[in-house]
């Protein structure tokens, strides 16, 4: 095995090399997460360190079970960190209890968008009710919340007449854009997007990705979690690669995609579908898999 870590070029990606920045929206240091108890206890994340600055988009990629979603859940306080340090908007949240998390969340600095657009909206609430919920939780009067929700609906290119509909009455692409609008209503500093386009068809995927690019331009930090390198590469400033719960490579998106250093990243890049898709690619992938296995 020739490459186990990626500290090859200083400009590219010493693993976890992100320098702590005072202005960072999100700082994660040496994060360990375990699931289960007793004999079933299993470590899912091993010492992951990442930093996201304001308006920056970090793509987090890896295969199923690599710990990408767990990372997002830990940052959102939905999965407890076993050790390490998580700082959100300058506030150390690692040891936060339920009440402290609630106070932080109600400030609306951190929001999320989940993969399944059908399940990320309550099927019994109208689009309007789902959109205003984060604001109502902040204590904003419903009428004012609705006005703000309307403007965010326009940001994701949806019309007002959807407000009275139930999620089951709109398409998957519209549902996912509603989920993005819901994440925007509190003017968050950062949004964790867990596979936001995986369940969408090509046309809707392009539309949602375009909306995310606009958000990035507007200064919202994004953590874009995906198994699809193609979706991430087009939008991320930096890409981090998780493999079996470990951060194996991190660097500017272009560098990671064009000259991947870690074997697993190279395998990911080579596995992206191409029109060519010839026998040479297959042979190379087999070789990389063998290397990875070793």
């Amino acid at each position: 095995m020739t490459e186990t870590t990626a500290a090859v070029r200083p400009d590219a990606r010493p693993v976890g090399s992100d320098v702590p920045r005072d202005e960072s929206v999100l700082q994660v240091r040496d994060l360990d997460v375990h699931y289960g108890r007793g004999r079933r206890r299993r470590q899912v994340l091993h010492g992951v360190s990442l930093t996201v600055g304001p308006g920056e988009t970090l793509g987090l990629i890896g295969e199923t079970g690599s710990g990408k979603s767990t990372f997002g859940r830990a940052v959102l306080g939905l999965a407890p960190a076993s050790s390490g340090r998580i700082v959100v908007s300058g506030e150390e949240v690692t040891a936060y209890g339920r009440r402290q998390w609630r106070t932080l969340r109600r400030r609306g600095v951190l929001q999320s968008v989940f993969q399944d657009p059908l399940r990320s909206l309550d099927p019994d609430l109208t689009v309007a009710d789902s959109l205003v919920e984060p604001l109502v939780l902040q204590g904003v009067p419903r009428a004012e919340a609705l006005t703000r929700a309307r403007s965010d609906l326009a940001r994701v290119r949806l019309e007002d007449d959807l407000l009275d509909r139930l999620p089951g009455e709109i398409s998957g692409g519209q549902r996912q854009r509603v989920a993005v609008a819901r994440a925007l209503v509190t003017d968050p500093s950062a949004i964790i997007l867990d596979e936001p386009v995986s369940a969408l068809d090509a046309a809707n995927r392009v539309q949602v990705l375009r909306i995310l690019q606009e958000l990035r331009s507007a200064g919202v930090a994004l953590v874009f979690i995906s198994h699809d390198l193609g979706s991430v590469a087009g939008i991320a400033d930096r890409i981090a690669v998780l493999y079996q719960g470990r951060l194996v490579e991190e660097g500017p998106a272009r560098t990671v995609v064009t000259s991947p250093q870690h074997v697993y990243t190279r395998l990911l890049v080579r596995s992206a579908p191409t029109l060519r898709g010839g026998a040479a690619d297959r042979a190379e992938r087999a070789e990389l898999r063998a290397l990875l296995g070793a």
């Binding site: 959102l76 989940f114 990320s120 609430l125 959807l162 089951g168 519209q174 854009r177």
Partner: protein, 295 residues
């Protein structure tokens, strides 16, 4: 929910029967043509102008006793269902959120209640607390509560880890908010089904307990008590148990039909069913009614 229930013919029929039973419970004692406790010399009389449903073995008017006994029978069964609902459903929902210790304790308590022999326990508690309808029904409600505990807990578990609940939590929702806003609506249909079934079962339980002399003491009339006394004189009046038996059957049937209707009209499938019946224009996710961009 009521609008959706009433949109189905079976729902309207079940509600109609139950409204009739409720009216009997409220107005029964007033409508009774004679004193339900007054005895006369004409025992085991057949149907006549003065006794529409005949008389029993002590010469009491059966129709008057049926009407007068409606209130106790209905109140008893409703009491069983409500006690079971409060004692079972509330801990069932909260057990998902209040940590492992409370979850474990409440699960073991529910298992224990299921394992208790119902009649023996009811007899023992009424012997301890006194033989009254309230005591008997509270005991029965507690013993039936594991059904509500299991149903509400299972429904809550399916919702508790859904993406929209997690989105609400990320937005700063408390447990109370999540339960009120997202969980309760999803738990309500299966709980409503269990409630309707329990009201039906409650009638049978009240009747069974009265049959055994637990809860209501003779000569106070109940539907179950009438059935019990009529069964003792089958050789003389084989048709006599028909009236109380039909009342009990009709009420239990209406409760069960209502439970089925509540289940049928709940959730997405229920909405589609009601829409298909014309109360709302049918919609489909793939065919949004207005444009909203690419879909």
């Amino acid at each position: 929910m009521l609008r959706r229930v009433l949109s189905l013919p079976s729902g309207r029929l079940a509600i109609g029967v139950l409204v009739l039973v409720a009216a009997l419970a409220v107005l029964g004692p007033v409508l009774a043509p004679q004193d339900p406790l007054a005895t006369s010399g004409t025992t085991l009389a057949g149907v006549s102008g003065s006794h529409w449903l005949g008389t029993d073995n002590l010469g009491r008017d059966v129709l008057s006793r049926l009407l007068a006994g409606s209130r106790v029978s209905v109140l008893g069964s409703v009491e069983v269902a409500l006690v079971a609902l409060v004692v079972g459903a509330v801990p069932g929902i909260l057990s998902v959120y209040l940590g492992r210790t409370i979850e474990w304790l409440s699960l073991r308590l529910a298992d224990t209640l299921v394992a208790l022999p119902f009649l023996l326990f009811a007899v023992a508690v009424t012997a301890l607390l006194g033989n009254g309808l309230t005591q008997a029904m509270v005991v029965t409600g507690v013993l039936v509560s594991p059904l509500f505990y299991r149903v509400s807990r299972a429904a809550t578990l399916t919702v508790a880890r859904s993406a929209y609940v997690e989105s609400a939590v990320v937005a700063g929702a408390s447990i109370g908010w999540v339960v009120r806003r997202h969980v309760w609506v999803k738990v309500l249909p299966p709980v409503a089904v269990a409630l309707a079934q329990t009201v039906g079962t409650g009638f049978v339980i009240v009747s069974s307990l009265t049959f055994l002399g637990i809860g209501v003491q003779p000569p106070a009339p109940t539907w179950g008590g009438l059935l019990a006394s009529d069964l003792g004189f089958l050789a003389y009046q084989p048709w006599a148990p028909l009236a109380p038996a039909l009342l009990i059957m009709a009420t239990v049937w209406a409760c069960n039909v209502l439970a089925d209707v509540v289940r049928d009209v709940s959730g997405e499938a229920g909405r589609a069913l009601v829409a298909a019946r014309g109360s709302r224009p049918p919609t489909h996710p793939s065919t949004p009614r207005t444009s909203g961009g690419v879909s």
